[in-house]
Structures are given as C-alpha cells and as structure tokens.
Amino acid sequence: MTQTHRLTDGGRIDRDRPIDFFFNGRRYSGYEGDTLASALLANGVMLVGRSFKYHRPRGITSAGTEEQNALVQLERGARTISNMLATRVPLYEGLDAASVNCWPSHNFDFMAVNSLFHRILPAGFYYKTFMWPVSAWKYYEHIIRRAAGLGRSPMEPDADTYDKMNAHADLVVVGGGPAGLTAARSAAIHGARVILVDEQTELGGQLLNERFDINGHPATDWVADIEAELMAMPNVTILKHTTAFGYYDHGFIGFLQNRSNNVAFGEDGRSRQRMWRVRAKNVLLATGSLERPLIYSDNDRPGCMLAGAVRAYVNRYGVTPGNRHVIFTNNDDAYRSALDVKAAGGDVACIVDLRTKPKGELVTQAIEAGIDVIEGSVITAVIGGKRVRAVEIMKLNEDGTGVTGTVQTITCDIVGSSGGWNPVVHLHSHSGGKNVWRDEDGVFVPGDTLQSEQVCGAAAGSFSLQAALNEGDFAGIDFASKLGLPTKKPGAVPKTSSDVAEEPWKLLWYIPTTKPAGQRGKHFIDQQNDVTVTDVQLAAREGYRSVEHAKRYTTLGMATDQGKTGNIPGHAILSAALGQTIPETGTTTFRPPYSPVTMGAIAGRYVGDFFDPVRRTPMHDCHEKAGCLWEDVGQWRRPWYYPADGESMQDTVNRECLAVRNHVGMLDATTLGKIDIQGPDAAEFLNRIYTNAWLKLAPGKCRYGLMLGEDGMIMDDGVTSCLGENHYLMTTTSGGAPRVMAWLEEWLQTEWPDLKVYLTSVTEQFATLQLAGPNARALLSEFTKDIDLDNDAFPFMSWKSGTVADIPARIYRISFTGELSYEINVPASAGLSLWTDIMIAGEKFGIEPFGTETMHVLRAEKGFIIVGQETDGTTAPGDLGMDWIVSKKKPDFIGKRSMSRPDMLRDDRKQLVGLLTSDPSEVLPEGGQIVAETQPKPPMTMIGHVTSSYYSAALEHSIALALVKGGRARMGDTVYVPIDGKTVSCEVVEPIFYDKEGNRIND
C-alpha cells in the first residue's frame, strides 16, 4: 500500500527511514517521526474503530492526547496494551495494532445494530434498564460487557518492567511549548534546578504543528537552539515523552515517562515506563490549550476532526488528512488550517464561518489565497457513513437558533471544525486551584492557586505566541527571584512576527440543523462515550441540575479522554437546557490522572519478589536447608513446619509436637520484639504500662505482662526481664514490636516527659533459639560451662548470662509451650552456627526443629493466648479469665479506668473457653460461628466464635479455644458449630487442656 496522502516534502518525518507496521492485520508503511495516526492517515486509513454504545464507525479526530476515537490495542500476548491513543503512539518497526471496540471487525460491526435502536439507548439507559430487578444484572452483564468493552487486558503476566524515580526541583515546568521553554530557560540561567517535562516526543508544543517564526527564523529552529542551550546546563533535566499526570499536595507531581520510543517494549534492559515522583518547590504550568469542536449534526463521521489537527498533520507529519478539506469555524485561528493545507498543495473546498462578515487578517489571507469563505453559515448535515462524502451548508439565522435559506452541498472528505481553544487547566485543578469562567471567549482560565504555582501561555488563556513567550520568560525570572537567586541579565525575550490581529470567537455551542436536536442526525458531545446533545438535554429535563450529577447520569466526560474536548460544550449545552449561565452550572473538578497511567507503572518494581520486604532471621538458611514451609508473620518469614519427604502437614505437626512434649524441640524465636529499657524510672514506667505490679522485680527475674489500650482492651503481651538496676528488657509479639515501641515512646514523650527512661529497640541484635522439652536442660548443658542450669539455681521465670558454645549469651527460662524451656539469646551473627551445632548435638536427645504451627498447638494445649488471635481489639483481660494479672492495688495504669465502664461489667461479654468436639478427630475451623441450639436452617443466634483450633497429638483429640457469650457460666454445656451443611457439637470446657497443674514448666 502506498502512502497516498503523504506530501512529497515537509514535516518532521524522516523519509529516509521507512517503517513497516500492521493495523488490523494489514501491512502499511510510514516514516520515522510518524505517530500511528499520522501513518494511518498517510495511507488513507481514516476508519479506526467503533463507538462505545452505538458502534458507529469512527475516525481519527485529533493529533494528540485529546483523541476520542483512535484507541488501539497495541501488540499481542503478554505485551498487549489496550486503549493506546494512535495519536500518541510513535511509529516503530513492526508495530502491531488493532482497533478496540469492534466485533467482529472495524469495517463490519455486528453491534452497529445498536444504532438502529438508539431511541431505547438514551442517557441513563443502563441505570433505567438494567438496575431493576437487581437480581437480573447477572444475566445482562456479560452481554453488555461483550458489547461495550474497551480493549482487552492481557491474560499473561506483563513481560515488561516498570520502575520509579524520585526527583526534586526548584521549578518544574510542565509543557515544552513556547511558554514553557522561555520559562525554563530564564529560571535555569539564574541557577534554578529545573525539570522540564513534555508529553510529546519532541519539545516545541504547538509550534511543531504551526508555520510560525521566532526571531526571524522558523520557530522549530528556535526550539532546537533553546533545547541545546538547556541540555548544556547541569541544573536542567529535560524529560520528553513524559506526561505530568497528576499534581498533588505540596508540590508533588507524578510523571509517567515512556523510556523507549517503542512504547510497547522496554529497550536496552531498561524499564518500559518510569513513574517519576517529583517534589517541586515551584511549578509552572505551560500546558497549552486543546481545541474544542463545533457540535453539529453527525459530527462523528470519519473525516470529521479538529481544525488544528488538520494542519498538525500537514505541517508536522507531511500528510494531508483528506483529498478535499472543509474548515468549519467560529474563529480566525482555524483559517490557518485552510492556509496551511493550501500552502502544502492540498485542496480546500471552503471555509464555513458561522460569524457574519469576518474580516481578520487571516480571513483576508485566505481570500487572497483563493479559498472560498462562506460566512454566516453552518454545516447542517454530513453525508456519508464510513467516511465523510459531503456536507450540507445553510445560513444561520440571526439569533443562532436555526438555519434558513437554501442548502448548499459541498463535496469533501474532511471537515476540520474549531469552536475555539480550551486552556489545559487540569493540573491546576488537581493542585486545588480554582478555575474562572471568562465570558468573552467562553473558556475556563486558571484562578486562585493553593500552591506555589503559576500558569502561563495558552494554558492561562493567552492564546498569542508572543504572549506565551513573554509570560514564560517573565515567570521564569519571577520564580528565580522568589527562590532568592541572584539576578542576571536573561537576554531579550524572543520575538515573533506570526501573530496577527484576530477577531473574537462567536460562541455557538449547539449548531442547529433543519430539524430539532435529535431528529436529524446526532450531535455528539462526547464521542467516546456516545453522549449527544439530546442526552444532556434529557438529563436536564429529568432534573439533573448539578453538573456532577448530569455528568454521571449521561457519562459525559467519563471516558478515557476525561472530556478533554467535550466537557465545555457539554456544560454549555446543559446550562442552556437549565436556563442558567455556565458559571452557575459550574464545571466538574478535574482529578488525576490527566491521561491514563498503566497499572504496571503504579506498581513499579514492587511486584513478585519485591512486592513487600521479606525479613530473614539469622538462621534462615538452616530452615531453608531443612526444607521448611514458610509462614509470613508481619514482614517476617518464619518456619511454619518442617515436613519430611511426602509428610502431610498434620503428620509433621504431630511429630514436632510430640518431640517437644517427649524429647526436645528448637524454635527460631528471633522475631519476637525486644526493647531495651534503661533509666531510674524504668520500673515506674513499666508499672504504668502493664496491668500488673512491676516495682519489685529483682535483677535476674522475668515477669509476664499484659499491655492494654486506654480503652481497657488487650494490646500486646510479653515477658519483661530485669537485667540490672534500672535496666529491663521487654519482649513483644513479633507483629506488634514497632507498634509497641511507638506506643511506649508516645507516653514517654508526650504525657510523662518527667519520667527518666530511655528505650532502644534491640530486636535484631540477637538471634533467639528456643529449646523446649524435657531434654532441654541436658542438651543445653553440653554447651555451657559457666551457667548453672540446675532447677534451683536457675528456676522458671529467671534469666542468666554467660556463654553458650563460647558465645556470650543471655538465657531466659521462660516458656510458651508449657515445657521446660530456655530462650538462648546470642549476637545475631552467631545464631546460624549455634543453631547448626545444637541440631547436631541434639540428635541423641531426639531433637526436632519446630515451626510456628507446632508452637501454636503447644501453647493452645496450655491455653496460652496469642494477641490478635484470641483478641481482636474488643477483648479485655477479664474476657480471657486473666483478672489474675490485673492489679487491684495500683492506683492507675493505662486502661484501668476503662475496666469499670458499664460495658466491661456486662455478664454476657464474650469469654474465653475451651471446646472439645464430640468427635475427637473433628478439627473445627478457626472463625467458626458458635450457636447454643441448632435450628433447621439459618438464621441462628450466634453466641461466639472459634479463635484457635488444632489437633492435639499429645491428647489425641482436637482442641479449640473460643470466645463465647457468658462462656464461663456454660462449662459442661453443649454448643454447636455449623459448618458446610453439618453441625458439630462440642462441650464447653476450661481453656486449658494439658498439664493443668503446670508441673512440666517448673521441672
């Protein structure tokens, strides 16, 4: 296929570098420098997809980010990306794109039948039709999804990588057009750290699309010069092909950078896209403006595009979008499009100007160039389905409400329309800035800002080139002085001779045709979501007076383009229907992102192994070698259980449990939080934090403590040891360590700054090896010469220091298993070698390593609670039968006052009990709901839930702990746990199952 619409010269493409690509399976050719859209147009391809609701044929409407129709599915398989804008995809060799939203093909669309039923698809159609009855949604949904899809997500994991970069700047300039370039330059020569970002692959902004001059040379030469100047400055970073998609609090801006020209693939081992998190002291928004279309009948036919896009394709890409062009406008600027087409040798059928007697300089130039200007007229109809074939033109009546006179039919295949330009105020709006309606040309311009931000150039509503250059230059100097940088002579402001006197725009939001709206063709406001003028008028009639409600009801501006072209005409038409002004109707708030951001870029490298930090204990390699399975406890990775080849989890846990009960086991307990507490008021501090008494704990002794919130609910627990005078070591739960540390510091720093106490986290200083079981003493005695392990010398709940295998160690005789148990703390670096040695020496004592699952079973057999398992933030000590640890004598401690709140005194509070199933092999599910009596079917009154449940190998019976309303009064009762179609009956028992006298722990 030849490039039928390619000009022989001109444009910013490289004709020496042809590129082959595929669209909907057909091979085409374009050039380096093309976008997919420009290359398609060069090949005469206008039809690129189908519309969302009616599946009408649609063509390319723009040359940039505001594109509504030319959404493509780029590439296939794992790399496929949906809804890429053909106007923003730089062409690369082998590019493979397909239309989205057409089935079975873009040329013959099955769903176009929707078009015939448009009378039953009005605004709010989905709400009205499918929301009732609610149960029917599941029948409708898959049909609607199939019909209304926008592209496909890949089924495979993304083959590309994405990463993030943090950056800081004195000034971030968004937009590399004339205003942005002069601002960046004048700020940078004063020494400001500047980041200049632009979404296009080249700097220049709108200058790339125009035939303007600056300082007597083509404007693009000036762009090249200034880019070279900026590149040479070490304090300037230029990011091209990078979209500033969101502007958040305190100068925080998000950029999405395409790191390779080939937007579907990463290159050179680099990430495909990079998310920049930029913190700017100041921000200059030079985001330019976007043209808005005129809303005329059947304005969505392929070939209808923005007037500015017509000349962008001619000037920048050397492509004439059609064979015969009509320009339809309410302003002078669009005349440039006709002039540029003509200058490039293209055919301009006429300019239709809805103003009467336009006489601006550009109008004169057009007439002099021999272009037919039809003034005071509008397009009333577009002929053609898959491509514009002609337009009908009639005179506009005086008040702009209708048309008169005879119909003039003009043959053409392109209609470039212009209703003026909208400043791109999105980022200003993101940052909390307000927008102000400017009545004279019907635009929202940026108003007050909350941040250190300025807007200049077209984005501020200054549409002339010289104004953009002046404002940018001035803003750069202004920022530099605000930063306190020394003043320098910046040089003269660039001058252009391209500006000419232009007459005002004539605002006419709805272009009338020969019949009332909706009765002759469709006037589309939002082409991507198929929102028409009649939809908006219907919404107004149905009482949607708020623009925010009307937007959601009609889906106006809710497509992927977020209403970049359609919002303002839409609001204007809504206002007219409501009989109020546009400022009265208001505009919707723009929210990030400005244009779609890939999910991959948001995740960055935090996928797979990097998803979340994994904390390894010093003995990690030993566990791995022993073939353990892992359990994630917070960010810690702890051994869960150590199966032998082919051993089931239950068999493994049974074996590990019996090893501890009968011989000896070893657990990696490194993850328990450890806080070193020093200072003369340390005991007093502990006394206030814990529920029990702490003033008389002697050096060498350990004590269990329960920590409550001020609301009296259990927050954490652990053993604290007195290391010496005014020196303690607190242990916390593995997951609770950081929270407890912050909690303790808060009390010390805020309420009790008078207490002389210092806290230091030492969790990671030590490797903690827990030996548990009747053989623990014999085994440990092989490793220590200087610590007397005799029961009298070293009783339960005490600690000693000395050496273990010649390693300095602290040994705590504490137990979470109910067995004789020692927790050996050694410097973390020595943990692995000690673990290895003990495992070898322990063989003759029947040692087994055990994991968290066995630990949980063993402690449950003893009825020891786990905070977060037996408690849930509404559990008080009394609920767990732990009144024994709550001091009655202390005048105050954290949580004490709440103990006497009425709710705490209710006798139907959930209380901890044990449950024994009638079938000893039946293990209840944790979280199982408990009922007092069985009913044939729900609802049944729930009286509690199972908190822990295991099979106990030592008891050869399943055991469970549960919280049950008034549970302690139900001892001996039978309760029921309904699970999956059956009901398990259980006896309520004391929450302790093994060694109730506690002899083993003290042996």
């Binding site: 990097f610 930090p613 904390r615 200083q765």
Partner: protein, 210 residues
C-alpha cells in the same frame, strides 16, 4: 571474643566475596555495591545540654555529639558519631574498635552518674555501601529525600526509607573521584531484600560487587 568462624554477616549467604573477586575490574561500571558488615554500632541516649554527658562521650570516643540534626562527625576511617534524634546518637566504629568504645562509654557514663543509656546494636544492622557514577540515581529510585549535592553531602545523614526499608543513610566523600559514596544501614533482617532491590535497580547502569 566470638570465634570468627561462627560469625556470619546478614548477606553472607549471597557469596559476595566470591563475586567481588570475579568482578574485580570495575572500570566503566555505573554502580558498585558492597557489604561492610560488623562495624561497631553503639546507640547512646542522653541530655546533650548536660555538660557531664558531653564530656563523658568526648572522653570515650574523642567526639562530641552533634546537635545539628542529620549530621555526622568524625572520620569514616576511625570512629563517627551520627545524630539520630535530639537525645539519641549512633557511634559507628571500625569492627575492631567496637568493644573498646562500648566499654569506655559504659564506664564514663556510669561515672558521670546521670540519666543516659548505652546500648550495643552492632549486630542489629549491616552496612551496604553504594558508589560509582550512578549511585545517586540508584538510591533515588527508592528514596524520597533530596540527595542532590546542594541538599545532601558528605557529613550528612538521614534516617529515612529506601525501597520500603528503613535505613540510616550517610554520605562519605570519595577523595579520588569526588563522586558520592553512600552507606545504607538497614536492620539485618531487611538486608537481603534491600540488596536484591539495589542490584535490580542498578542493572541498567551496570553493577559490580566490590
């Protein structure tokens, strides 16, 4: 002293020594990373407005606790004192100097008889050193503080987050290249995750182990 054969650094399992020998030629490499384990890390807390506290520390390690936040005093080749909080500092010594410094601090602060604490946290962290011409870029991928020379330089430090891992971050000057060298001190349990992330983030610039 513990027999050295028993000591295993947090990153020992990655076989970094062997890699360093294999990757000895670092010319043209964008990023050079290494583990520098077992530096002495001694946490001290006390009231810096109390002259006795300052004197006891000076007597022990010949450095005064810096009062300017996020600064470090002393030489990397011997002993440094890093600001952590208005009443908290970290003494960083060479591996061989840790025990002596700890004992001196404990002794002199005890003699001073004032409310203070000295806690050995040598084992709690390791040090990952990142250098090379692209070092700053790599760390900036995961760190939100401004590391530009105008904002962060030799003698400065920060407690912050690098790639979701809390670290003490310090910069030292490389006298030969004038390029920054960064030291990251993560808690030892996080070291593997951080190291793997650093290697991944450095891959596009070329990375070698020193």
């Amino acid at each position: 002293m513990i027999d050295t054969y028993r000591l295993r650094s947090p990153l020992a399992h990655l076989g970094l020594d062997a890699r360093a020998r294999a990757e000895a030629d670092i010319s043209g490499t964008g990023v050079i990373i290494s583990e520098r384990p077992q530096a002495g890390l001694i946490n001290i807390r006390g009231d810096v407005s109390d002259a006795r506290f300052v004197t006891a520390i000076e007597k022990s390690i010949k450095l005064s606790p810096p009062t300017v936040p996020n600064t470090v005093v002393g030489k990397p080749s011997t002993t440094r004192l890093m600001w952590l909080a208005p009443d908290e500092w970290m003494v960083i010594t060479r591996p061989s100097g840790a025990e002596r410094a700890l004992k001196a601090l404990q002794k002199n602060l005890k003699i001073a008889d004032l409310h203070s604490s000295v806690t050995d946290t040598t084992e709690a962290r390791t040090c990952i050193r990142v250098s090379g011409p692209r070092a700053r870029e790599v760390i900036s991928k995961g760190c939100s503080i401004d590391l530009h020379p105008s904002a962060f330089g030799p003698g400065q430090c920060a407690q912050t987050v690098v790639s979701r891992v809390g670290v003490m971050l310090a910069q030292t000057a490389n006298s030969k290249t004038h390029q920054p060298t960064y030291e990251l001190y993560p808690l030892r349990s996080f070291a593997t995750y951080l190291w793997n992330w650093l290697e991944d983030a450095s891959a596009e610039y070329g990375v070698k182990v020193e």
